[in-house]
């Protein structure tokens, strides 16, 4: 670990310290990576003093300040009432101690848990050192992607919260020296392509201010199911965030986002499209997710995720269809 400077940001305007600095939320990921020699910031700008407000918006939605702690979001009455899927996703992640520290902005910005990425001392990684190669390919790929990977990088994004946010059509409000803008969560993360080191569409000098969610019709019929190697404190092998509304027994609208399968929360748009307007029988759900999985490209060692995604999605949606919207 290297010596670093540290200061607290007093305002958003104060939070553009320059390229060699990193913004510090709860530090539950960044500090670990600094210790491992993966991250080498010149300084840490602590942004936990910025907005942690969780407030209803006029359109029936919710705006969550980037500095809100994960545990506070999961426990907030409005979150639990309007977006139970989000509360469940957050509570499925990490441990109570980590959730008490972690912030919403930091959660979105956390890095992959690929073991080869984390092993700065002994493994090659194109994300960590562009052009150096990828030791994950041909190695342990249990937590790696089946969608949208590239020969350069097969890492996944580890967040549970972001999967729910993707299903909820959340938007990320960001600010930079030039002003503010809004990025749909679906466009917030990049797929690796030949630049796996570029993970988000956030500008180098931009900061996440808040996450906004529109009013959701899925509050009553939504779920987050996480499948993992132990009952708690493990990253998702696969997770499914889903919501569905029915009209006369037919799918009126549906959202399906998958975790643990790609470098970003994977909106199963093809499956959603296939399901809209159909009666959500087991067969129909199966056909829809199977259509989505047609584009999956598993690695040696994670082929099981195809079947796991299929089964878990069918289980989640078949349960939801029985729930009144």
């Amino acid at each position: 670990m290297n010596p670093v400077q540290y200061r607290r940001a007093e305002s958003v305007e104060d939070a553009f310290p320059g390229a060699q600095w990193r913004l510090l939320g709860g530090g539950t990921n960044l500090v670990d990576l600094m210790r491992k020699g993966v991250e080498h910031p010149a300084g840490l700008l602590d942004v936990t003093g910025l907005s942690e407000e969780i407030a209803a918006s006029d359109d029936g939605g919710l705006v969550i300040g980037a500095a809100a702690r994960n545990s506070a979001v999961a426990a907030h009455p409005l979150v639990r009432r309007r977006y139970p899927m989000l509360a469940r996703a957050i509570l499925a992640g990490a441990s109570a101690q980590i959730r008490n520290m972690a912030t919403v902005g930091g959660n979105l910005m956390q890095r992959t848990r690929c073991a080869y990425f984390a092993d700065a001392a002994g493994s090659r990684c194109n994300k960590r050192a562009p052009g150096s190669g990828c030791d994950a390919i041909g190695g342990f790929t249990r937590y790696h992607a089946i969608f949208g990977a590239s020969p350069e990088c097969v890492a996944t994004h580890p967040s549970d919260m972001a999967v729910a946010l993707a299903a909820l059509d959340a938007r990320v409000n960001v600010a930079g020296p030039g002003g503010t803008r809004t990025i749909p969560l679906a466009e917030f993360y990049r797929l690796p392509g030949d630049r796996p080191d570029l993970e988000t569409t956030l500008g180098a000098d931009e900061i996440i201010v808040s996450v906004a969610m529109p009013a959701s019709p899925f509050a009553g019929a939504s779920a987050y199911r996480k499948v993992r190697d132990r009952a708690s404190y493990a990253f998702a092998l696969v997770s499914v965030a889903a919501g569905v509304t029915l009209r006369d027994g037919v799918v009126d609208d549906v959202r399906i986002a998958l975790g643990g399968v790609a470098a970003r929360p994977w909106r199963a748009l093809r499956a959603e499209e296939t399901l809209r307007g159909t009666r959500p029988t087991d067969e129909a759900i199966d056909a829809a997710i199977t259509a989505e999985l047609a584009s999956a490209e598993p690695l040696p060692g994670n082929e099981f995720k195809i079947e796991l995604v299929r089964r878990t999605t069918v289980a989640v949606l078949s349960e939801l269809r029985g729930t009144p919207a």
């Binding site: 030791d135 041909g138 009952a231 289980a315």
Partner: protein, 770 residues
């Protein structure tokens, strides 16, 4: 017979000539078995309040005057040599006092390799430590940086530049099998056992199973990281260490650094978990050497990753188990062979077949272990070495046979229980395995089990019940010295250089001393954890408790003799011989006439003594020569498997144990439950991700190496027969490791019962059940 027993017996044979006879197996059982007062009570641990309030001192909290801090640098290659090592920038970094490499490391020999009974040795690796530029395994220590603060040392370590010349490394288990070695013996136990023609018996058996079982590497994950603080004062060396081998470490350091044994003191009052991983490894040697070079006290605490890199764990293994049986299920053939890893510079053969030799009767046996050599940190003891993975294979196979025969698996086991050791013919010292099974089955509700797999379902969850047997050999170490001081105020102190690793050693020995001396528990103090105390063997092989009981018992005999001498002609017991008195009710009492009693206070007062001190060693463990001595378990499991995801959720575990006298039901239950949780981890989650392309461990953290989390651990019930072993001190046998073996098989067998899927490769992760 286990390697622990082997080692003990081997040394018994050598010391028989000069240790006085006590505790002969032909002698009568320990009289205290029948006179338990404090023993058998669920006394809370005496160290509990200290630990709960954070006041128990652990090694790395030590701060000596002028103390400095060290950080290790680990090799990132597996095989090769250091071509270039530039420490210029590190040496110039703030606070740095020393960068130690093979170039300036003091020239040292090899750490004497541990054997359980050699009080002069505690090493796990015969490789030189930073003596040359050679790299023999991935993660090997190649440099240490010492600075004024830990942060400065950590930072400077990142500035050391090292270039390596890589050489081909042996890292693939499957490839290395071709060159496997077949040791003549596993220590002094014969490796190859062949009784009858087991292959032929198997072919002609009415019922047979023949399968291969695979278990992965495991790493040690004691909650307390390994730590050392070393300080030289001239040629005197003080070492604070987290160790389960206090005296052997002190002696090994003395011989390694060329100083007299009396000059080395190792202090280790509390150890935050040992499990076999806290013997001597490179970190103690590096720290002591750095302290010598720096001329200042040095503290080193391994990082969690560092523990994975330089502390060995459990070897991976591939075991074949084949059982042939007649129409009634009586075993005609028992074949148990396999491969595990043991590099030539290691010493621990992972004795997974040893439990098989005593578990069941069979008309024929074929047993042999083979060892493959890989370029790895040497494997070592890990709680219940051998038995943990051996029982998984054998007890899975027994379950498979029961299924083939359509016979209840408990019944199949009962039909094959031996009444004496199946190979040696020796009698068991005590062996109520049948009762452990039947009591356990009844308490668990085993009769509810549906024999046909996959038939009990609750929503998406398939429910199953399974069972498995475990065993662990009794071992008692010679060389357990106990110093006993009786004071005029009627209090007593028991002291010995033994280990408190969280298992309740001080508590249980205080209970024992209270009963042995006839004193109230509050009057007893137990002092452990310092090589300046009288010598004790390592805490290993579940042997410490009975070894100390024997030592204290011998000391109590000496105390009795001394008090008889001091009592004088005015004593109510004057004229009685040693055999005619015993220690009871705070004094000496006539066995024949309990009215004749002389109190300790009175004896010491009359003799004008403030205290009496005696020191004695436990008798040689001759009982192990004459009897087959094993503790046993019957483990039961109820679990659910998601038919959707393959996730396994264990709902209940029950362990029914036959392990002699339970000295303290509270600490014993904790030990057994903890062992069972390790078994649960081995069944479902634990696996070292060793990248066979490179020889590097890829999950060196508690986030990525999955031990069970709280949510994975179900209610665990433990019970015991409680039948004393007439051949052991207090009737007790060690229980530190007994909880683990059998659990993985019980879980795998329950998974089969739930799903009809037989998983023969641990851990049972969900992808194996999809």
């Amino acid at each position: 017979m286990s390697r622990v027993q082997n080692a003990a017996i081997s040394s018994v044979r050598t010391v028989l000539g000069w240790v006085p006879d006590r505790w002969l197996p032909s002698g009568s059982p320990d009289p205290l078995i029948a006179r338990q007062q404090e023993i058998g009570r669920p006394t809370s641990r005496v160290d509990g309040p200290l630990k709960a309030s954070g006041r128990a001192p652990f090694v790395t909290e030590t701060v000596l005057a002028g103390q400095t801090y060290a950080t290790l640098i680990h090799s990132t290659i597996t095989r090769g040599r250091i071509l270039r090592l530039d420490s210029t920038a590190a040496e110039a970094a703030p606070g740095v006092l020393l960068v130690m490499t093979y170039r300036n490391m003091p020239r040292l020999g090899i750490v004497p390799m541990a054997s359980l009974t050699n009080l002069g040795a505690a090493g796990n690796s015969a490789l030189p430590i930073m003596q040359d530029p050679e790299v023999r395994y991935n993660g090997q220590v190649v440099a240490a940086v010492v600075a004024e603060t830990q942060e400065q040392a950590d930072h400077a370590a990142t500035l050391v530049e090292i270039d390596y010349a890589q050489e081909p490394a042996a890292t693939r288990f499957e490839d290395a099998k071709a060159g496997a070695r077949t040791l003549t013996s596993i220590l002094i136990e014969r490796n190859h056992v062949s009784v009858g023609d087991a292959e032929r018996e198997l072919r002609s058996a009415v019922h047979a199973v023949d399968n291969v079982y695979r278990t992965p590497r495991h790493n040690h994950n004691a909650i307390e990281l390994h730590g050392v603080v070393a300080a030289w004062d001239g040629d005197a060396l003080l070492v604070h260490d987290s160790t389960q081998a206090i005296v052997p470490t002190a002696n090994a350091l003395a011989s390694l650094f060329g100083v007299a044994k009396e000059k080395v003191r190792v202090i280790s009052p509390y150890v935050g978990g040992g499990f076999g991983g806290k013997m001597m490894w490179d970190h103690q040697v590096v720290t002591v050497a750095a302290a010598r070079l720096a001329g200042r006290p040095v503290r080193l605490r391994l990082t969690r990753e560092g523990v994975y890199r330089i502390i060995g764990g459990r070897s991976p293994a591939e075991q074949r188990v084949a059982i042939g049986a007649d129409a009634d299920g009586r075993f005609a053939a028992m074949i148990h062979t396999g491969y595990s890893v043991m590099p030539p510079y290691g010493r621990f053969p992972e004795q997974y077949t040893l439990g098989t030799r005593a578990a069941y009767r069979s008309k024929s046996f074929e047993i042999i272990q083979r060892h493959v050599d890989l370029d790895i940190v040497p494997n070592t003891f890990m709680r219940t070495p051998g038995e943990t993975i051996g029982a998984f294979a054998v007890e899975s196979a027994v379950d498979e046979l029961a299924h083939v025969m359509d016979l209840d698996p408990v019944e199949l086991r009962l039909r094959n229980l031996p009444d004496r050791h199946p190979l040696s013919g020796q009698p068991f010292s005590q062996h109520a395995v049948h009762q452990a099974w039947t009591d356990g089955a009844e308490r668990f509700g085993w009769s509810r089990r549906q024999a046909k797999p996959g038939t009990v379902r609750d929503g998406e969850w398939l429910t199953g019940l399974g069972c498995g047997a475990g065993s662990f050999p009794y071992a008692r170490m010679p060389g357990a010295n106990v110093r006993l001081t009786l004071r005029r105020d009627g209090s007593a102190e028991v002291s010995t250089a033994a280990h408190e690793m969280g298992m309740g050693t001080a508590t249980v020995q205080a209970q024992h001393a209270a009963d042995r001396l006839g004193l109230p528990l509050e009057q007893i103090t137990v002092t452990l954890g310092d090589s300046a105390l009288v010598a004790a063997p390592i805490a290993g092989g579940s042997s410490q408790t009975v070894s100390l009981v024997a030592g204290l018992s011998a000391a109590a005999d000496d105390l009795r003799d001394e008090l008889l001498r001091l009592a004088g002609p005015d004593s109510p017991i004057a004229g009685l011989k040693a055999a005619e008195v015993r220690l009871a009710d705070g004094g000496l009492v006539s066995v024949a006439d309990p009215a004749r009693h002389d109190g300790y206070r009175e004896i010491l007062a009359r003799a004008g003594r403030d205290e009496v001190t005696v020191t004695a060693a436990g008798s040689p463990p001759l009982e192990m020569l004459k009897y087959s001595m094993h503790s046993s378990s019957a483990i039961f499991c109820e679990l659910r498997v998601s038919a959707v995801t393959g996730e396994v959720r264990v709902d209940r575990l029950l362990g029914s144990f036959d392990c002699g006298t339970i000295l303290n039901p509270k600490t014993a239950a904790g030990q057994l439950r903890g062992g069972m949780i390790m078994g649960l981890g081995s069944a479902l989650t634990e696996e070292t991700l060793f990248d066979e392309r490179t020889g590097r461990i890829m999950n060196p953290s508690l986030a990525d190496y999955h031990i069970p989390a709280h949510l994975d651990v179900p209610p665990i019930e433990v019970m015991w027969t409680g039948i004393p072993d007439p051949r052991t001190p207090m009737g007790a046998r060690g229980i530190g490791e007994l909880g683990t073996p059998g659990v993985a098989a019980a879980i795998a067998n329950a998974v089969f019962n739930a799903t009809g899927k037989r998983v023969r490769e641990l851990p049972i992760t969900l992808d194996k059940l999809l």
